[in-house]
Symmetry: D2
Subunit: 284 residues, 4 copies
Amino acid sequence: MSHYYRLVISCPDRLGIVARVSSFITGHGGSITEASQHSDFESGRFFMRYEILADTVGMTPEALREAFEPIAREFDMQWALTDTRQRRRVVLMVSRESHCLVDLLYRWTAGELDCDIAAVISNHDDLRSLVEWHEIPYHHVPVPAEDKAPAFAEIEQLVESADADCVVLARYMQILPPGICQRYAGRVLNIHHSFLPSFAGAKPYHQAYRRGVKLIGATCHYVTEELDAGPIIEQDIHRVSHCHTPNDLVRFGRDVEKAVLARGVRWHLEDRVLLHGNKTVVFA
Amino acid sequence: MSHYYRLVISCPDRLGIVARVSSFITGHGGSITEASQHSDFESGRFFMRYEILADTVGMTPEALREAFEPIAREFDMQWALTDTRQRRRVVLMVSRESHCLVDLLYRWTAGELDCDIAAVISNHDDLRSLVEWHEIPYHHVPVPAEDKAPAFAEIEQLVESADADCVVLARYMQILPPGICQRYAGRVLNIHHSFLPSFAGAKPYHQAYRRGVKLIGATCHYVTEELDAGPIIEQDIHRVSHCHTPNDLVRFGRDVEKAVLARGVRWHLEDRVLLHGNKTVVFA
Amino acid sequence: MSHYYRLVISCPDRLGIVARVSSFITGHGGSITEASQHSDFESGRFFMRYEILADTVGMTPEALREAFEPIAREFDMQWALTDTRQRRRVVLMVSRESHCLVDLLYRWTAGELDCDIAAVISNHDDLRSLVEWHEIPYHHVPVPAEDKAPAFAEIEQLVESADADCVVLARYMQILPPGICQRYAGRVLNIHHSFLPSFAGAKPYHQAYRRGVKLIGATCHYVTEELDAGPIIEQDIHRVSHCHTPNDLVRFGRDVEKAVLARGVRWHLEDRVLLHGNKTVVFA
Amino acid sequence: MSHYYRLVISCPDRLGIVARVSSFITGHGGSITEASQHSDFESGRFFMRYEILADTVGMTPEALREAFEPIAREFDMQWALTDTRQRRRVVLMVSRESHCLVDLLYRWTAGELDCDIAAVISNHDDLRSLVEWHEIPYHHVPVPAEDKAPAFAEIEQLVESADADCVVLARYMQILPPGICQRYAGRVLNIHHSFLPSFAGAKPYHQAYRRGVKLIGATCHYVTEELDAGPIIEQDIHRVSHCHTPNDLVRFGRDVEKAVLARGVRWHLEDRVLLHGNKTVVFA
């Protein structure tokens, strides 16, 4: 199967970036199979993502990175060049609800998520059998309300030793401590079960029911220290009516949550999500 | 063309309401062409709406109301029986933006909104020609920031003398004073250009842009004294991305706003919206 | 947990059906928790579905059926009264693709589908481990192209001995012979991976790709002898663009297919789908 | 207000196109404000669209075209460079139904459609007053069933003398003769009131009603000689149920039709729609 290099760039917008970068790729024989660009009119920042057929470039990713370095410096770029042969390592964190986990594991099995799932961590033991059936290590780390610090130290240790590139909170239901948020900034994805910024915090479906909204939603976002306030990656909604009880909202919500989280995770793994302050550029 | 009686009821839920009401209608020969019911599990309140082919009932609406009165008392009903031959009188209020007005006038012309449009009131004179082309009276009532009371007194007077059943704020952009809100409680519809409860108040599209949401929305609700907090009738959304400027959001938003408002107004005019505390039951 | 009786009726429309039926239920003390009705203007046929809290009726379902029989005869009703304590027995049929199966099994585990899954039948052995992990019997019945009759005889036998109320083709990819279609008429659900009637038959996503449509869809329908032409229960769509390859369409399609099939199966199991010629009335 | 050059290209895919074109633009000082590219994996064809801030290029469009010609020849490009200061001239054709016309005229007035509306042509006189209120010439050309040729000759003459770049059939309800289809190939947009390829031809909503579909749709496509078979630009759908009569489908359909047509027209006017055989690439 073909593999690809992905070149992802953000920098101050100015004349000639595309010409320079595309000439560089072409000059090394690189065939660009997908190209996305965005100029943000307000911040004056430029974003781009190239997908390059690796076999057309006669160089290792390391050599290509080195060759690109002077251009990156000249244009003051934040950038990364990744190689799809180096599969990302993902740690999933779950609580008791399995819908997002089942969905992500199906997609992973079906080849929709190009990554290794290094481990699943949970504050409960309920989902062990499901995870182990997929031959993935399962770590049960209880998080006692009265003293959470040791649990989170253990979790941080587990994430470290799993050599994780990315952590996905697939309905984890615990608030991560600031340390982890900072250490893995831009690499921890969460699914919030409301259409943020509505109904941040606890029990969003019950909040939505009380307000009498006609649509409920879910939001995939990067975790930051401020609860449910990080950069939004993806959102979607489901129509509800007066007929529906809070339990119906929870049930519909599960479908929205898993779909939104799966899109967010896939786009993250494919380097399609670029941070732009507290917002995202998503080259979906 | 056939006309209909509409019987709309809300009352404490208990055994036999449907049997009693449907037997009453049937006993008077009434053919029920549409029936909707809802039992609210939480509040224990029951809601129903019947559409009855008027010609099958050998009685005037007044006589039918009188005959129904004992049942209504027995079950402690809030209720109304309306006759579609008595067209509702609607006053539209607008500011400068015409999208909702153009849309409502088209639907009215096409027969989608069964009402008379008694008048259009605006704080600007911009839309006069459009309104008068439709042969509807246009009242220009400026609302000076420094003293709004006389303007609102004049507006209340105009609504009164138009003999209005219902007022539709089709992007009016002014906050109605509490007096009007109370006097026409449950009969003033507003379109808010956000997916409430997100981004209540001013400039919601700019708020949405800054937060980086991936969907924008609009909300049709009954106006209450508390700004943007009244019972929600209908909501919808439009997908946006990092590509879109605040102006694009405004443009997409226009489409959502007019669609959501049109549905809300139509349902209101057809007695499909029943109040339930600060929520609505919508038999759409 | 409460259980319910469900009374489902279709009959020629005439005066007094609702009054008669609701009085009957009320007369036996029955509390109606959900009521749906529909008069078809064109065919003159009437449809209704009542959900009745079983404990409020002091009778067995058998006794209630017997008491209702005279009313049913008088109004020439097709009808059924079911008891939610009698769980339906479902046989799932699959081929190699697991997305619908994984989704249905998740929903079944989560309590979204009120049924017993009696067995899974497949023409391949690929999904055995998944099914058996859920402690459901798995039958591998190869269907050789050159002589399918013995295989279908075995399948019919398996469905019989599983005492199945309903068969769900969860991407089975084989055409059932007319005998089974007739024997289980109105009880075999299929998911077709296109927005019918577009792209009936084989490889619908490739047909869609070649036609350059901007939306792809899926259709849940009852199986009849005519391929992909049975009564439609539910449909939904996913937006696509020129960017997407046939493989992308297949991937998006999986999400639509499983969502549409799950809704169809749930509604069928809850007696919400009433046949009306080659169409359906769905009290969703 | 700023104006833009738009460079739209399709050519056989090969190494270096983007580098060459972007270097050319940059070399002339051109600031690219929007860039879109697509490589079609199956046909090996490449598509691109650049939006360039005109003031940053020190050349007339004519001079820029001349300078670009050698590159175009080298890469065997089909291409166009347009200048947004040269507003397109559009002829609208309508019959009796006004919903698409009202919608397009509103959007045109609101600045959403960057064009001149040169004329409206209709086979009926019903919409004259509406059109003339917008100060647009209205031509009533009856098309008698027994001899349509003279009418279409007159129409072709009117389109010619209006100096039209593009013709929009906004529910025109007549089949254009092959001559006009060929002469204005890729420049005549139609709205078909079904989700093509379902229900091509006459009375699609009645066809949809009889088939019992759960979603209805509309399709904006370029007109070709084969009825309803031209390249699809945009599609959308609206959910329906057993409750809805053919008249309801027509009513919902109007909303979908006007939205889909408006998007198609806007994208066409902004050079976002590129033909690719009988399909389209839409850089929306």
